[in-house]
Homo-oligomer: 135 residues x 2
C-alpha cells in the first residue's frame, strides 16, 4: 500500500466531497498527535461524515481493531457517521460504515471487494444522490 498513492486518492475524495456534498477538511495526519485523527471530515449541513481512507492494489484491505474503535469513538462523540472509503486499483470508490463491520480475522478486520460489492455503497449512494438499489 503506497502512502503517496493513498494521499493522492484522499485528495481526490476530498475534491469529490467539496463538489458533490459540502465543506470538507483533510486531517493534518496521525503523525502529529496521539489523538484519533480520521482522514476527512465533511458535512452538507445535515449529515456529518467522518472518513478513514484506505487503498490497496490487491482487492482486500485489513484494519486493526484500534483503527475501527478510534474511528467509531471519534464519530460518536462528534455526533457524526463513521465511514471507511476504500479504493482498489482500477475500481471506483466503495464506502462502508465502520460501525457495521463485524467480520474479523484474528485481531484484524478484513474487507474484500466482494464484501463491498454486496454491502458497500458507491459514491453517489454515499452522498445520498440516489437511494441504494440493492435488494
Amino acid at each position: 500500500m503506497s502512502k503517496k498513492k493513498g494521499t493522492r486518492w484522499e485528495r481526490q475524495l476530498f475534491n469529490l466531497l467539496w463538489e458533490h456534498f459540502g465543506p470538507c477538511l483533510r486531517s493534518a495526519g496521525s503523525g502529529c498527535t496521539p489523538k484519533p485523527s480520521p482522514d476527512l471530515l465533511a458535512s452538507n449541513g445535515k449529515r456529518i461524515l467522518v472518513i478513514e481512507c484506505k487503498n490497496n492494489k490487491k482487492e482486500v484491505i485489513y484494519l486493526t481493531q484500534k483503527e475501527i474503535f478510534e474511528l467509531n469513538l471519534f464519530a460518536k462523540n462528534f455526533n457524526a457517521e463513521p465511514w471507511l472509503a476504500i479504493k482498489f486499483d482500477n475500481k471506483g470508490w466503495y464506502f462502508i460504515r465502520s460501525d457495521k463491520i463485524s467480520k474479523s480475522k484474528g485481531e484484524s478486520f478484513r474487507v474484500s471487494l466482494d464484501d463491498l460489492k454486496k454491502e458497500g455503497l458507491v459514491f453517489d449512494e454515499f452522498v445520498g444522490k440516489y437511494e441504494q438499489q440493492k435488494l
Copy 2:
C-alpha cells in the same frame, strides 16, 4: 508572526479542545488546496466549532476580507459556528465569532487586545464551561 510559533499554539488549542470539549481535527493546511481550509474543527456532539487560529507578538491582528468570508462560508455550509482563536504573547487565548466582526480598516479587518477584552471570550466561556459574565 512566526509560522512555527503559530503551529505550536494551534496544537495547544487542539489539545485543550480534546480535553475540555470533544473530538477535534487539525487541518492539513491551506497549502494543499485552493478550498477554504480552517485550522481546527471540533464538536461536543451538539455545537460544531470551525476555528481559524491567529497569533501575534503585538497586541493586534489583521485579517483579510477573504479569510473572514471563507471561514463564514465554510461554517454556514457545515452548519457550524465560525470562530477566530487569537493568542498574543504572554496573554491567554481569546475567542471571537468571525460573523460578528464588523470593524474594518480599508480592505482588512483589525482585532486588538482591547477589542477582545470587551467583546471576546476566554477559553472556559468559549467551550461553555460557564456563561459570560460581562455586562
